[in-house]
């Protein structure tokens, strides 16, 4: 089952005060099926994270299309209405980044239960699910009620990952999720990713250490400054 069909997908930024176009990636084509893991490779600055952000629509793509096969039908992520994108983010498409951007004065447990509460789960259910995830990622229980802004980088990243992964998705965009994680948490993450991949979740990932996810990868997308090569494993 196809999840995503991307063709001619391109992004350039226009910076007004420089009056300059800054190209990111150009004419990207690939196809992703349910349960497939696509690894995006390329040197720094070639546009790997930008590609993920364009698919999540944190950035507006400049050209091309990204036909996403949603539960309710086909939709082009490149030009879908903002409210449709917002709905897909709540229910089907997840973006896992390196950075936690929590509201101040919100506890770690509240940060990770929020997506569940938004889905209509009760506070008790949400807390129980969150507790399992936080434990799996090795975040000590005595800091669950503390504010993540006071946490170390690795602890913040664990909260961030749990928040991003706790609600089931159909498509996950993973932007260096293992950065700043210790070995145990990295292993816990890879185990979780393998589980949800087996459940049919499609993933596109950028990894600083691709060997972490070596066993999950089904295909690779090589971004270079001049061209894009898709290689199926």
């Amino acid at each position: 089952m196809i999840i995503l069909d991307v063709q001619g997908f391109s992004k350039a930024f226009f910076v007004h005060h420089l009056q300059r176009h800054i190209p990111a990636f150009n004419e990207v084509d690939f196809r992703l099926h349910a349960g497939e893991f696509l690894l995006v490779r390329g040197v720094n600055g070639v546009g790997k994270s930008t590609l993920l952000r364009c698919l999540y629509r944190s950035y507006l793509p400049t050209a091309g299309q990204a036909i996403y096969h949603a539960h309710a039908g086909l939709i082009d992520l490149a030009c879908a209405a903002d409210v449709d994108i917002a709905a897909l983010r709540r229910t089907e498409i997840g973006h896992v980044t390196q950075f936690l951007r929590a509201r101040p004065r919100v506890s770690a447990i509240d940060v990770v239960t929020e997506p569940l509460l938004n889905q209509g789960q009760t506070r008790a259910q949400a807390r129980q699910i969150a507790a399992e995830w936080l434990t799996a990622f090795g975040l000590k229980e005595d800091i669950w009620d503390a504010y993540p802004t006071t946490f170390s980088g690795g602890e913040q990243q664990k909260v961030n990952l749990v928040r991003a992964l706790i609600v089931p998705r159909r498509l996950l965009l993973l932007d260096e999720p293992t950065a700043s994680l210790d070995a145990n948490a990295r292993a816990a993450l890879v185990t979780r990713l393998a589980q949800i991949k087996a459940q049919g979740v499609a993933m596109i990932g950028v990894f600083h250490h691709p060997e972490d996810v070596r066993d999950l990868v089904d295909g690779e997308l090589h971004l270079t400054n001049t061209q894009v090569d898709y290689v199926a494993n």
């Binding site: 944190s58 507006l60 939709i75 209405a81 509201r103």
Partner: protein, 268 residues
């Protein structure tokens, strides 16, 4: 200049927006405050409006609150019995009823939203009295419930707002705005002027209430941090017009217009 294709109409989201306003115009003498502004907000959604002073963002909010007439434009709220009514052309009595029952507003300046010489609970109860409630015990209980939902310390519910801190005054305004469970909540710079720590608490209250009540909210703020924390979508206004709109993270991270780029890159 970069040109990009416009976005499609909603396809997955089938419901009608709670609020649909088109072509809003408002002039004050020779000055055009807003000129052709379109606004739509869905239930459960938060729309942010940003822009510098004088851009017209507060005027939009006053029009949506039916506080003043529009010189042109239409305004529909998808409410039972009123869905086909342009609120701007409706009889004054019904307009007032809709304002009281279905729209709540919190102003930056608590003096605009509160009677400083009435108790805090009285300020909240007044809203219910306007809607026809007369039973003292019911009023008291409802005021208590609304203040508690706004995380106002109940032991101070009979204090005059003038004796309260800025953060508590905003909670009384919020309780008053929400007392009748409105469909639409309008927030005009609700945390501007509060200490940063108090601001964070008020923001958290707003986020929780938004999630629990699933109302449609419009928040006007020049503080992009507040907008990032609360808004799902953002409209950028300049000289009375909407120059750009999009998902909040997209507007803040990949702004298209020169003015929006300046605004976003100027943030600390």
């Amino acid at each position: 200049m970069m040109t990009r294709p416009g976005l499609d109409h909603p396809r997955l989201v089938r419901e009608v927006p709670l609020l649909q306003a088109r072509g809003l115009c408002r002039r004050y003498g020779a000055i055009t405050a807003i000129d052709g502004v379109d606004v739509s907000v869905y239930r459960g959604e938060v729309l942010g409006i940003v822009g510098e002073s004088g851009s017209g963002k507060s005027t939009v909010l006053r029009l949506l609150n039916l506080e003043e007439p529009a010189d042109a434009g239409t305004y529909y709220l998808d409410l039972p019995g009123y869905a086909d009514q342009n609120l701007f052309t409706m009889d004054r009595y019904y307009r007032r009823q809709i304002q009281i029952r279905h729209i709540g507003i919190v102003y930056q300046n608590p003096y605009l939203g509160l009677r400083m010489r009435h108790t805090s609970s009285g300020n909240v109860a007044e809203r219910l009295i306007m809607a026809g409630e007369r039973n003292f015990a019911t009023l008291r209980q409802a005021a208590r419930g609304a203040l508690s939902a706004s995380e106002f310390p109940l032991e101070r519910m009979d204090d005059l707002p003038i004796r309260l801190s800025g953060g508590m005054q905003q909670r009384v305004q919020l309780a008053r705005a929400l007392a009748l469970r409105p469909m639409l909540l309008l927030l005009d710079e609700p945390t501007t002027g509060l200490d940063v720590s108090v601001q964070a608490l008020v923001l958290d209250t707003l986020a929780r209430i938004q999630r629990e009540l699933q109302i449609a909210t419009v928040i006007v703020s020049h503080d992009l941090g507040v907008i990032r924390a609360l808004a799902d979508r953002v409209m950028v206004m300049r000289h009375g017009r909407v120059i750009e709109h999009g998902l909040t993270d997209q507007i803040l991270e990949d702004p298209q217009e020169a003015y929006t780029q300046q605004l976003v890159y100027a943030k600390l």
